[in-house]
Symmetry: C2
Subunit: 207 residues, 2 copies
Amino acid sequence: MSRSRTPERIAETALALFNAFGEPNVTTNRIADELEISPGNLHYHFRTKQDLIDTLFSRFEHRMLELLGGDGIDEADVEDAWLFLHLVFENIAAYRFIYRDLNELCTRSRNLRRRIRAILKLSMRTASDLLAALERSGQLEAMALERESAVRNIVLISSYWIAFDQVMELDVEPRPDRAAIQVMSLVSPYLRGPAREQFEHLANAYR
Amino acid sequence: MSRSRTPERIAETALALFNAFGEPNVTTNRIADELEISPGNLHYHFRTKQDLIDTLFSRFEHRMLELLGGDGIDEADVEDAWLFLHLVFENIAAYRFIYRDLNELCTRSRNLRRRIRAILKLSMRTASDLLAALERSGQLEAMALERESAVRNIVLISSYWIAFDQVMELDVEPRPDRAAIQVMSLVSPYLRGPAREQFEHLANAYR
């Protein structure tokens, strides 16, 4: 392969193998084997396996911040919320090795832990803003305690749906569409009027 | 220490270290060091680290099946449900190393994967029976789709609350009481009459 494409091909192959077998079960030698390059060539571009993990994590993080880091939410409707979750969950599915071993990655690297927690905290704020926008426009009715619980549950399920799916049903492809419905069902009992009908319509289409 | 207590002390120390640092980060040598015994003595009782994991898992599983494996649920109220979740979550907290690396343990051992999935499926059935019992006695009102989503979300949050807490707030003690409220809040909007008041009372006490 051409020299200049080597780092990119290493990163892509590492991502595919990490996602398929779990990062702890893939050595840099196996990645080099898969690409038919020498381990020395791989380590010339990525000194350690952690460097490779960091590169992949940065790509995931970049997309996540792009999606989460808007200017705040003024208006929201149920279809927007579903589309937004779908995009976030596609990114999570593309880098699912991170979520399979989230706690182990956090223990191994303080730097990753700080950045993962920043993403989770931003997710909590986004979920909270979204519920507030739905409430302002009369599409949602919930007590403060219910909203707080919902926000925590939304972020928990958003973070662990893919690990749970893998334990329950091995070797199935991730279903970001279904996961988005699963998360929205946390809020559906609080939806009012047309918003509730919109949710039921979506839920029946994507089960 | 007396010869006969050695296996038990090894198991207890392994559990404490696995819970504190994560199983992948604790070697059998470290366990032996902590107990001031030789690695040879440890391996006389537990040939491999996996044997030690299997022993601890069996204890966890025994208690879990004891809790989940009743004769079916005829009657239920909100306080019973909360107490039941609290007991289940105390067991999860006692063996939290399993839930920290659930997916990695499932990949490494087919036998553990089968047993973990059996526990999750039994949990789904128990959650489903519990909602059905609440519905029969007029304490809960939900559509079939809402009940299905709730059951899946209940088992997902029951399985990953402790991993999520660890990522979000490092070095805090597990809070099975708070986790029980978090799980019950998935169902609270569907509760009717006194059941709903009972939930609010509990929620305010254990936040």
